[in-house]
């Protein structure tokens, strides 16, 4: 698998891209050989996605040149990139939910038989080929299923299958780009993906972006680090360590801050008690207690219902049986509005579609639920509103420090900080419900968000956490409630035992 007889798959020299004042990608030079798996890491907003979008033909570089397989690449659009053999799994899922799996996979590989020349879709061949590709990456999915009907993880698999599909479109060595494909996957699924990436090495080169450094260390041959648009480190995996990568990535590491777990659960006052909560078809008979100043984690594999429970407690879904008690009083006619009035807050997993109003400025996003000083009665006070927002920006170190910019233009980690600020601005926060709060966040941002969670605990809030990883739960929570197929399969009081192992929980999950 040496590069002796082949030109490098990718050569970048001095590639740059600027958005307004932000140099998202700043003069990057880089070479990738055939069969290499290169890890790309960096803080949120470091410019990783932008660099990859340039490779995919979605963005055009302002400066520099690209060569793919020894040929000068001057992509005018994504189509050119595909033809040159670049396959992409975007950070944002990019599937057509109203089309079938096969169509989403085979959309790009325009073949040259007579039917397709006439613009006619050959369903049989399309389905057969999709089935082949899916088989190759070991996913059992019906090619004729509508993507909108699939689970999120299955959709991610379709994305990957589609990216892998490029090898059919070119005789060259394909370059497969995976922008945070594992951010939304559970361990088991991520493992499938890992296996698949190893297989890809046989015929392709891969660029792999992730914030999970373990994963990077396991999968990649080489790791490059970006910071503020620049390439700051490029080393063989064997020659580096997680700590070194971390140091290279982070500009000013936030001080890790630990919340104090209670000495025993009984010591902490119950704030929200869930009894026998049931939502038909989603979860059954779920009971637990969220306590003042403590984190209660709901863990479970995809589809276990943990996210649903969180949403239901927040009033976003109806429940069919059971009760929710707040400060000892059961709630009735539960709704989001009532929940918020009772002091609940909810950070959804789907940040962009559910957690925020992307088109609105950061300041307005913060003012939308609890404007605090930013409003008096029904009226807004724009000046004060901006002051409040500026206060949060400074406290959470949101970058760029521009409260008037539409929130959608921030990177994920910074968006998440603003979403947190929106809820933390409440005068009296009683229960903070967090669904995958660290999804897609870099280490630094994750620390900042975790610090805020601890601060909320210190201020007396009860936290219900649906974590990305079990480690996260072990680290943060004083109690873990394990869900399996919509039912509580185990619960662990972490104030009493510290020897709980990951394997135990995984076993209870499946």
């Amino acid at each position: 698998m040496s590069a002796v007889s082949h030109p490098p798959v990718l050569t970048l020299s001095g590639v740059g891209r600027t958005f307004g004042k932000v140099k998202a990608v700043d003069s990057i030079s880089l070479t990738i050989q055939r069969g290499e798996v290169v890890g790309l890491v960096g803080e949120n907003g470091a410019g990783k996605s932008t660099l990859l979008k340039i490779l995919a033909g979605i963005e055009q570089p302002d400066t520099g040149t690209m060569e793919i397989n020894g040929r000068k690449a001057n992509f005018r659009g994504p189509y050119d990139a595909q033809r040159a053999g670049v396959g992409v799994v975007h950070q944002e899922q990019s599937l057509f939910t109203n089309l079938t799996v096969a169509e989403n996979i085979g959309r790009q590989s325009r073949k040259t038989d007579i039917l397709s020349r006439l613009g006619i879709q050959n369903w049989r061949r399309l389905n057969r080929e999709a089935a082949d590709v899916l088989g190759k990456i070991g996913v059992r999915l019906d090619p004729t299923a509508r993507v909108g009907d699939l689970s999120f993880v299955d959709r991610q698999m379709v994305e990957i299958a589609r990216a892998v599909c490029v090898d059919r479109a070119t005789s060259q060595t394909p370059l497969i780009i995976l922008d945070e494909p594992t951010a939304v996957l559970e361990e088991a699924e991520a493992a499938v993906l890992e296996r698949e990436i190893r297989k890809l090495k046989e015929f392709a080169s891969v660029i792999f972006v992730s914030h999970r450094l373990d994963e990077i260390m396991r999968i990649c041959d080489r790791v490059i680090v970006m910071r503020s648009g620049r390439l700051v480190s490029d080393r063989k995996t064997a020659d580096t360590s997680k700590q070194q990568l971390f140091d290279a990535m982070v500009e000013n590491a936030a001080e890790a801050r630990k919340g104090a777990k209670a000495a025993s659960l009984d010591e902490a006052e119950p704030v929200l008690v869930v009894r026998g909560l049931t939502r038909h078809g989603h979860f059954r008979d779920v009971s637990f207690t969220a306590r003042k100043g403590q984190v209660t984690a709901l863990v479970g594999s995809n589809g276990s219902g943990s996210g649903e429970v969180a949403r239901t407690i927040f009033g976003a879904e109806r429940f069919d049986a059971g009760s929710i008690e707040i400060d000892g009083r059961p709630v009735s006619h539960w709704s989001i509005r009532r929940a918020v009035a009772a002091g609940l807050a909810y950070v959804p997993a789907e940040r962009k579609t559910e957690g925020m109003i992307g088109g609105y400025s950061a300041a307005r996003n913060i003012a939308i639920v609890h404007p605090g000083e930013g409003a008096s009665g029904p009226f807004l006070r724009p000046g004060r509103m901006n002051e409040v927002a500026q206060g949060w920006f400074d406290r959470l170190d949101v970058r760029p420090n521009d409260i008037a910019k539409p929130l959608i233009q921030f990177s994920g980690g910074n968006q998440q900080k603003v979403v947190m600020a929106k809820w933390l601005n409440a005068a009296a926060l009683k229960v903070l419900i967090l669904d995958h709060p660290l999804r897609g966040l870099d280490v630094g941002a994750a620390q900042a968000v975790n610090a805020e969670i601890h601060r909320a605990c210190d201020a007396g809030a009860a936290v219900i956490l649906v974590p990305d990883t079990i480690e996260e739960a072990l680290e943060m929570a004083s109690e873990i409630v394990v869900l399996r197929d919509g039912e509580v399969s185990a619960r662990h009081d972490l104030t009493q035992r510290s020897d709980l192992s990951l394997q135990t929980i995984v076993a209870e999950m499946v």
């Binding site: 089309l99 509508r146 689970s151 995809n302 559910e354």
Partner: protein
């Protein structure tokens, strides 16, 4: 009306191996058409009860004959709406094509019988207006609502200029004039023409890159673009087809009436867009289908026909029409209410 969220159903539905869930999702998608068929059935039964003539063969022929023009138009309308756009230009294009066709066919005004060429030129006019619409929409990025409002008047203007200020042209060729009503296999030719259009439309959506591209753009234009799809070309093609079909409808309507009029397409727009919407072709794009829209047309035509046959006071006709429509829409949507459902 139309929006950025491709998919408002944000919950994951089932993991690998949940075959049952797949079936239920499928049935959910058919539920809309099911509701429509049910409404249709209720109407037919109710109207037959009110006036037995309603369910006669004669009335079936009558309804199909009346439905043929909107059925042809609705195919184009559906393509455009599925793409997330809207086409208001129907009346103008119908007027222009219809007028061009009759002036070039044997008529009382102009002695310029061009036989087959009249079809080519008249349809070409419709296609050209559609092409113009598509170009302005895709290339100049003017919202389709406004472009087609503009081309509506452009088409009408062409029709009026063609019409000039002399005699109303009427068809002199008996064969042509009688063709739409002449039955084949018991049903009028006009209907068969519409039927063929609907079938072809359905096939185009199901079996061509164009049709799939239209659905893809309607689902998420950003992804379509970043996936390298020829978005502009598909947009232009969809509007051109819609223009051509409006042109065809204009010709058929002119033939049915036996004389030309620039206003030949008046009030069609307010049949076909509601029909598509009732048929479940959401204005945000990406959903619905030609067949469902065709069902929507049948519902509206039958509703109108039934109200006449049932002898509803004309003063109240639009009110009764609106009320029935309202009840049907609410009844179909009621079971699906949920806290996070978004309907624009």
């Amino acid at each position: 009306m139309s929006f950025a969220h491709g998919d408002t159903n944000l919950m994951p539905k089932h993991g690998p191996g949940h075959a049952g869930a797949a079936r239920s999702a499928l049935s959910a998608r058919w539920k809309a058409s099911g509701g429509l068929l049910l409404s249709l059935l209720v109407l037919v039964v109710a109207f037959s009860f009110l006036n037995p003539r309603f369910s006669s063969i004669e009335n079936l022929q009558n309804v199909l004959y009346q439905a043929s023009v909107p059925l042809i138009i609705v195919v184009g309308t559906t393509l455009v709406i599925q793409m997330g756009s809207i086409d208001l230009s129907v009346q103008g294009v119908m007027g222009a094509s219809g007028m061009a066709w009759i002036l070039l066919s044997p008529n009382t005004r102009l002695d310029l019988d061009m036989a087959g060429w009249s079809w080519v030129l008249a349809l070409g006019l419709g296609l050209a207006i559609g092409l113009l619409t598509g170009l302005i929409y895709a290339k100049l990025k003017v919202p389709s609502f406004v472009v087609t409002l503009g081309t509506w008047y452009v088409g009408l203007g062409i029709a009026i200029l063609l019409y000039g200020n002399s005699l109303l042209p009427s068809l002199t060729d008996e064969g042509l004039a009688r063709w739409p009503i002449t039955p084949t296999l018991g049903l009028p030719n006009a209907f068969w023409l519409a039927f063929a259009t609907v079938v072809i439309g359905t096939l185009v959506v199901r079996y061509t890159y164009l049709g799939r591209g239209i659905l893809a753009i309607g689902n998420n234009e950003t992804i379509a673009r970043s996936g390298g799809m020829a978005v502009d070309r598909i947009k232009i093609a969809a509007f051109t087809i819609a223009g051509g079909l409006s042109g065809l409808a204009g010709i058929l309507a002119t033939m049915q009436l036996g004389s030309g009029s620039p206003d030949i397409g008046s009030s069609q727009l307010f049949t076909v867009i509601p029909a598509a919407v009732i048929g479940g072709t959401a204005l945000k794009g990406g959903e619905g289908g030609v067949l469902q829209s065709a069902l929507g047309v049948m519902l509206l035509i039958i509703l109108n026909n039934g109200l006449v046959l049932a002898g509803v006071d004309p003063n109240y006709q639009s009110g009764v029409f609106g009320a029935i429509l309202l009840i049907a829409i609410v009844a179909v949507a009621w079971p699906d209410r949920s806290r996070l459902k978004v309907e624009k």
